[in-house]
Amino acid sequence: MGVPPEMLMTRFSLRRFWAVLIKEFVQMRRDRLTFAMMVGVPVMQLLLFGYAINADPKALPTAVLSAESSAFTRSFLAAVENSGYFRLVREATSEADAAALLARGDVQFVITVPSDFSRRLVRGERPPLLVEADATDPAATSNAIAALSHLAGTALARDLGGSLRHLQPGEPPFEVRIHRRYNPEGNTQYNIVPGLIGTILTMTMVIMTSLAMTRERERGTMENLLAMPVLPVEVMLGKIIPFIVVGYIQVTVIMLAARYLFGVPMVGSLFVLSVVLVAFIAANLSIGFTFSTVAANQLQAMQMSFFFFLPSILLSGFMFPYRGMPDWAQALGEILPLTHFLRIVRGILLKGNGWAEVWPELWPLLAFMLGAMLLAMLRYRRTLD
């Protein structure tokens, strides 16, 4: 008998994989609208998200709860206003009043000057000034807070002449204690533009591949495809790989914009990033492909994609700080590729992380990808039953 018949068919054929790949590329090229969307969506999202978040709000309403009125406090408050970020609108009458102002959103900040501030300042005890910020929208407060911390060193420079000179150099003469209220972890804009790489890829990649098999089914071409001697894995890879290329185009667009429109720093290695990107894109493509083997039609496929997309943006740390989430949500988040990718991309771009730091986040991504592919292969039906 020679080779058993089953063996002949179970071997992966590069040629058949290549046939599917070429077909997909040609079809993609023909489908202008989809192609335009794939490049257009990231640009649009980036501009919308990026500029909304990048806005650097000034003159934020601020209340002061001051237990004393001294030259020092006056100078400090003047410097606060001069920074441009703060507008002193109210004198709070009590702590409760201040808390209410903040809770209602009447003011964004409350600056509390303790009663013995001047005395302790002169004694060199570095008294604390408490600044409470409504950080529900971290982007709105982060720059102001940054400016505030800086003020501690310079605001009182003139007042601390003469005998108080010894308080000046080195450490600031008093301490600004910042409490970000309602949102413990203030994301900055730099955090978000790299994060957009991940969200945009998740959205477009999952949707595109989730349509891959359902489209064949709806157009009636599935019957022909199934009648051909092609293995599921050849179809899957042939349909997935063109989108890796698309994903790279999207990333390039976003990175260029991140660099030149938003000035996001890129400290780490772009090579490491590009390797990680393949894994991340492939993970999303394989979950999309899995959806397409389950969904009966394109509408269902879209719904499944959104079902996946929502937790991805909500639980990955893109929208809300990861550490602020309850344990169960964190556990869910750990499963999602976007969670790990966000840590990796922020780590690489902002902190300059290398392989050693990236690996602990990379393997869960790879595991997810393999799991999704396995599921897709199990779900792939080779007959019309």
């Binding site: 018949p5 002949l8 058949r16 290549w18 046939a19 079809q27 157009r219 022909n224």
Partner: protein, 308 residues
Amino acid sequence: MNPDLVIDVSGLSKSFGGRPVVRDVAIQVRRGEICGFLGPNGSGKTTTIRMLCGLLTPDAGEGTCLGYDIRREAPLIKREVGYMTQKFSLYEDLSIRENLDFVARMYAVPNRDGEVDRTLEQLGLVGRQHQLAGALSGGWKQRLALAACILHKPRLLLLDEPTAGVDPKARREFWDQIHRLAADGLTVLVSTHYMDEAERCHAIAYIAYGRLLVRGTVDSVLQDSNIATWLVKAPDPAALARQLEGRPGIDMVVAFGTVLHVSGLDPEALDRAIGPWRDDPQLQWSPAEPSLEDVFIALMSRTRDELQ
């Protein structure tokens, strides 16, 4: 196992959602034979063909296709079968040539460019090779579909209504083509609703309500059916038809202009049934050669009565 039988299956059954669609069907087709597969809409032709090439798993029944077991060796069958689906199922957003290139790669056709050129030539598609398949008219789509399923030189063609909606001239060319291929040793199972096409087949199989009712050559089917047909010319054929229809012994009444074809599967019963009208001077009775169509319709109506 008879090595001469390219298709040899028996007991094939399939139901969808508990509704039997194909029941206990047996088909044998010899090498180089063109076998016509006939039957009314929804009788289970497409379902049977899909089971033959591994696209559907039969609920019961077994057999071989090209010597391979239809249950266990579907992947091997797929390599050597050209299956033309009833509904056009190539890629409408690819050109004719791109579609053929895709198919050729899938089957690992050696000398791909040459083979694609040759097939385009063979089916007169050269001039249109760069047109998108979606922009072709129905007849040209059929041609492309045929090209796609003979490109890899299969040993068996399964054609599901390949000429539906194709004009008479193109239909004739299509059949000339199929006869040439069969002459080269290719075996063909082709479903159709056209009687003239059935008459061009070496053998036919007729299926209704999921059951295979007859099979054999056209002549043997006509003979075995034992059907008798009378022609009757009447001044008011519609009224006469109403009177005759449904009488025991009369299986079918069909009007052709002012002439009615009255057929029955039992000639004596038929004679008894029409007796009361035989002597009516306004009617002219004459015996006729039954046609395939008469046989099928009569068979179908009897099967329907039996099932009820």
